[in-house]
Amino acid sequence: MTSTETAPTETALAATHAPVTDYPVDDAVLDIRDLHVVPLAEPGREILAGIDLTVRKGEVHAIMGRNGSGKTTLAYALMGHPGYRVTHGEVIWKGLDILKLSPDKRARLGLFLAFQYPTAIPGLSVASFLRTALNARRRGLADGDGEIDPSDMTRGGIKMGEFRTLIRETMALLKLDDAFAARYVNEGFSGGEKKRLEMLQMAMLKPEFAILDETDSGLDIDALQSVGNSVNALRHSDEGKDIGFLVITHYPRILKHVPADLVHIMIDGRIVKSGGPELADEIERDGYDAVRDEVAATSV
């Protein structure tokens, strides 16, 4: 098999268990510095125009902004979507500039994105997909290509029995039917089912930093409650107590289930205002124009 990963630091990374740290590792869990991003399809158009954001251990940050303000682009850029190019800036995580890493390496370093529009993988069952993902995640950066050999336990494969128990328990927590595991990834899923599958993956992969891109959109009250439960179950678990969250949303209601430490307002690819949870209610009441006017008034 060929690999098309080309980032320059990868060979160095692959060769060692301990990540090569380029930056001092401090308390900040995730540090986004002056991030500028263009889509490859339209390189002249800057979608993110300098994002600065620091999310510390255990914190929940919410990002709100109009349609098209650049929220998903930020999530994609953090995970390394091949359709976008970072023209300036860096993102430091565990002492590394993760922008140099392929998406799978970022994931194996503990990052996770719950997609706004999850992708279908026809013919691949949820169970096989998750088992492969879990094996990759558990092995971290130990092996450069991340390939697993399920028949070879010494190569880090999770035992089938252990996996079955884990997926069954996690699906029960999310009130997912057992038949879900045999279905093909996101194929023919309803909007709500797709969001629940994202939460199932998050709960099983136990990331250290999770971005939820409108996970609350299109969910009924019960599903919203179960998203809240899965986030909180993770936060209150031993592995998850330091997890950081970036919650992209249009609605303050998700923040009732997952209280945010800080709320950021994004307009045209910039964070123009940050504040406490009350900012979310303010937006709902007054709309984005009020923020825009206020920012315009103070910045001239």
């Binding site: 690999s3 098309t4 390394g80 392929s102 799978d104 994931a107 013919g123 997909f129």
Partner: protein
């Protein structure tokens, strides 16, 4: 068969000429029970047809290497033989000198069958006829015979079906297969008999390269149910050109699966046809995995009400493999139904063509036909043509057709990436998933797993993926 000899005489070099044919006819005259079910006059007529008929189809693409009008027949020999072997070919590692015949596939549980090494039928020692008897021991009523034996005994069920389903006069390669027929099998599952395990027909490549011309006839009686598994395994660079005829009785069901894992340089040209009586169902399953060139015609004729044909086929061309697949369902009366699903992929310099035909004739009212084919290209030099054709002459029918040709879904690769799955592994999962709709229809879990692992090995061997 010690290699290259017929009963002590050196086997003639094969060329599709009268000279080879006359040698073959002379040999068969002295060796009753060899060959197949064709008489000398028919062989000569068939060779004349072969010479007269045009080669099928133009070259599908620029990268296509083979010209059917000028296939080289170098270093091939023609033989027809029988040989005793000490152990059941299904028990252990089958014919010891056929590399590739130790394939785990040959140990699949089965309801019996026949094994050919090249055009040599392998018998279980000691008695000449132990093999078919042992093979059919699970149900004494089932007949599994070398075609020559069944023809020699003028088995009534064979005589009713032979040459009635595939018209060998219609195609250059079926004419060639008839002229030089040198092995074959007759499978008969009587009325009402339901077999749980497959009957296996194994064609293993002989170490020295042979021209092999099998003719298989399968008759499934009224209300009977059976699975036939045709396997191609082994080494060598054989040229295998054959005919399969399947007759499915009233309310009967036949699953006919082909798992083609012939040697790297093998060329295989097969025409397989089925006919279904009232409420009879045929399900073709085809996995073209090996060989250098495979041309397959998969046909079904539904000429009694309630008949149903399913065809599920896949190929994955790596290296310089070429596969040419033509499927056809002919709805002559209604109501009859058919469902065709094809998944093909190619990488490296792999070349493929799929031609899918559905004909619904004027009397086929109330029929329902569906044809779906999807192709996946994994490298820039790989090529797959997809040419579906629906011809509908009846009213009040349902016909569906859909086709796609695409490359790897980058969004799916990214999605898997965000779950920690490296590109190469994601590519493997996505590609295997692409074939799953066809694999899922194969008639047993063991067979499905076998096809999955074979595809997985092909992915490992491919040099360019998702370029």
């Amino acid at each position: 068969m010690s290699s290259g000899t017929i009963a002590g005489v050196t086997a003639p070099a094969f060329t599709p000429t009268a000279a080879t044919l006359e040698t073959a006819i002379a040999f068969l005259a002295q060796h009753p029970g060899h060959g197949g079910a064709v008489d000398a006059a028919t062989r000569r007529e068939a060779l004349a047809r072969y010479e007269a008929l045009p080669a099928p189809g133009a070259r599908p693409s620029r990268g296509w290497k083979y010209d059917y009008a000028n296939l080289p027949f170098e270093d091939l020999s023609w033989t027809s033989d029988r040989r005793s072997v000490a152990t059941s070919p299904f028990a252990a590692a089958a014919p010891p000198d056929a590399s590739g015949a130790d394939h785990p596939a040959l140990q699949t549980a089965s309801a019996g069958g026949l094994v050919h090494l090249g055009a040599t039928l392998l018998h279980l020692r000691p008695a000449q006829h132990d093999m078919p008897e042992a093979a059919s021991r699970r149900d004494a009523r089932v007949v599994i015979l070398p075609l020559a034996d069944a023809a020699g005994a003028a088995e009534p069920a064979l005589m009713r079906a032979l040459d009635t389903i595939v018209d060998w006069r219609g195609d250059k390669f079926t004419a060639l297969a008839t002229a030089f027929q040198n092995c074959g099998a007759f499978v008969y599952v009587p009325d009402g008999v339901q077999l749980d395990e497959p009957i296996q027909l194994v064609f293993a490549g002989a170490p020295d390269d042979e021209a092999v011309f099998p003719h298989v006839v399968v008759v499934v009686g009224n209300g009977a149910r059976a699975t036939v598994l045709e396997r191609h395994v082994g080494a060598g660079d054989p040229f295998v050109c054959g005919i399969v005829e399947a007759h499915v009785g009233e309310g009967a069901q036949l699953d006919y699966a082909v798992v083609q894992q012939a040697g790297e340089a093998a060329r295989l040209m097969f025409t397989r046809g089925a006919r279904c009586d009232r409420d009879g169902q045929v399900r073709w399953h085809l996995a073209e995995l090996g060989g250098a060139l495979a041309r397959t015609v998969l046909a079904a004729r539904l000429d009694a009400p309630g008949g149903r044909a399913e065809a599920s086929a896949l190929f994955f061309n790596t290296g310089t493999q070429h596969v040419d697949l033509l499927s056809g369902v002919d709805h002559t009366v209604g109501p009859t139904t058919s469902d065709t699903v094809v998944r093909s992929a190619a990488t490296d310099r792999g070349q493929g063509r799929y031609v899918g035909n559905i004909v619904i004739r004027p009397k086929a009212h109330g029929s329902d036909a569906s044809l779906r084919d999807d192709a996946l290209l994994l490298s820039k030099r790989a090529h797959i043509d997809s040419i579906p054709a629906l011809e509908i002459a009846a009213n009040d029918v349902k016909a569906f057709h859909g086709a796609t040709v695409g490359s790897l879904d980058e969004d799916a690769l990214f999605y898997a990436g965000t779950r920690g799955i490296a590109r190469a592994e994601a590519l493997r999962l996505i590609t295997l998933g692409f074939f799953e709709p066809v694999i899922a229809r194969f008639p047993s879990e063991a067979l499905r797993d076998e096809v999955r692992s074979a595809l997985d090995r092909k992915l490992d061997d491919a040099t360019e993926l998702g370029a």
